[in-house]
Symmetry: C2
Subunit: 298 residues, 2 copies
């Protein structure tokens, strides 16, 4: 008798949705209602929950690593034509930008990844247009660039803290769209993720940092100041999401109250987007038979 | 009856050596005889061989990741005092510099790693002293910098290919020692690894690249030219190893004909060297009780 029970579906929760995770989490174009974006959802997650998330995320690893190596190989062989990937991570403090880099980006070869964190601008950076430091940090051909914060800070913290006049930041949405369209036309695959956490979850995470001396270094008293301006930040995020949500550089809204879902979802979106590129291995740019003969002769 | 068989030693090969891997692979000071350096050895490997190497290397991962996070935390909290790590990888083509980054460096959070590959210098780089581009690529406080090739190319390929006069490259050994001593005094932990492969193994690896279309991109016809100058390269390596082997910046010679040993050994040395630093978590630079109260009130 052949056992078939191992192949039986345990419940509907293990059935893959017909929509991809990219489709499920892609922010629809048009007006954005921040209150309608669920930070605790788990759309499309194929497993049961936290208990099996490490396994589902790890299973993406070899596929993502293979895709990344193909991308990288093309970058080395035909840099002029090769794609570049830009993963933009935005979100309130503790939303997990660093955690995504550790657990999702960490699935691929670190040689293929260029990580850039954007802090408060230096005097030199301030002496230039706000996109100057961004342009300087763009990934090389074949690389996956990760922006931990980005040019969006110039319409988020800059707006909330009144660091420049309204007339200045209000013009930046169009400048950003033009900039991102330019990058897309030049072969950049842009994936922008808003890591959506609730203020309640942020409070828990800040408290957790204060409860553990090995996490003190992650705590910054200014994070509480920002928490107190939650409403103003959500207004600024609403405009950034609504006004800069283009086909060239779409926004994905990642429910991030559950760390395991957040990491899995971003790894999965990255995988889906790279699969869609249909990367092939680059052809040899030398005479294979002749080189085989040379190597055989040494 | 208590089972004890699982705790019994299976053979002497599972007994940890009394010397650390750092001690075993540390190049002794004094004259170097390249022919005496065994590329196929496996000094100090605690297991049986290739079959269990993935497990031994993976087991280093969590320890190394913890050490790296402590280093990183100190870099964020007290950058002026924090250590910086510089892992220099040198070796002939196919010796596995990239493989070490994928499999050993890949064990830690990519946010804590800064990888820099040095190719043939650009016109701008050539217009400066040979250490200029090296200084520009040094890791920030708390970071692990990885040099895939390095300033040693300026006494290796530059010497073998006669790219500068003898009088110029011959002066560089002292300049390198002075430079590395300066870095060590400034808080850099320098770990230099020579990935030692045999010419026979290199031939096999070049042939393997030509036998697999997914590896064509790794193949460069110039690698055969370099292979034909093996003797000249070994003379140049001998001088680099002999003349730049200081307490401030020691050389480790890594037997690299076996990829699994090479990756394990470098992960182990990195772990041992970081353990020896005795990193503690940085103290809070804020009033913990006051901040707990602030967070509780939000």
């Amino acid at each position: 008798m052949v056992h078939t029970c191992g192949m039986a579906k345990k419940s509907n929760s293990t059935v893959r949705p017909s929509k991809s995770i990219s489709e499920l989490l892609r922010l629809p174009k048009g007006p954005v209602n921040m209150a309608s974006l669920d930070p605790a959802g788990r759309p499309g997650y194929p497993g049961h929950g936290k208990s099996d998330a490490d396994g589902y995320t790890a299973a993406i690893g070899p596929i993502l690593a293979d895709l990344q190596e193909r991308l990288f190989a093309n970058g080395k062989s035909t840099p002029v034509d090769a794609k570049r990937v830009l993963l933009v991570l935005q979100g309130m403090d503790t939303s997990g930008k660093g955690g995504v880099i550790t657990h999702a980006v960490g699935l691929v070869d670190p040689q293929g990844v260029h990580i850039k964190g954007f802090k408060a601008p230096t005097p030199e950076e301030l002496s230039h247009d706000f996109l100057w430091r961004i342009r300087n940090a763009l990934p090389d051909p074949g690389m996956i660039g990760i922006f931990d914060r980005s040019h969006y800070e110039d319409v988020l913290v800059v707006r909330v803290e009144n660091l420049v006049p309204v007339s200045e930041w209000d013009g930046r949405y169009d400048l950003i769209n033009t900039f991102e369209a330019e990058l897309a036309a030049a072969g950049y695959l842009i994936i922008k993720c808003f890591l959506n956490i609730s203020p309640g979850e942020q409070k828990l995470r800040l408290a957790a940092r204060l409860a553990d001396p090995s996490k003190y270094w992650k705590y910054n008293p200014r994070d509480v100041n920002a928490h107190e301006k939650w409403g103003a930040y959500m207004e600024a995020y609403k405009d950034a999401l609504e006004r800069c949500n283009t086909d060239a550089a779409p926004w994905y809204v990642i429910p991030s109250d559950r760390k395991w879902y957040r990491n899995w979802a971003i790894a999965e979106i990255l995988k889906e987007q790279l699969v869609a590129q249909g990367f092939t291995w680059p052809a040899a740019n030398f005479d294979v038979a002749a080189e085989k003969a040379r190597v055989a002769a040494i």
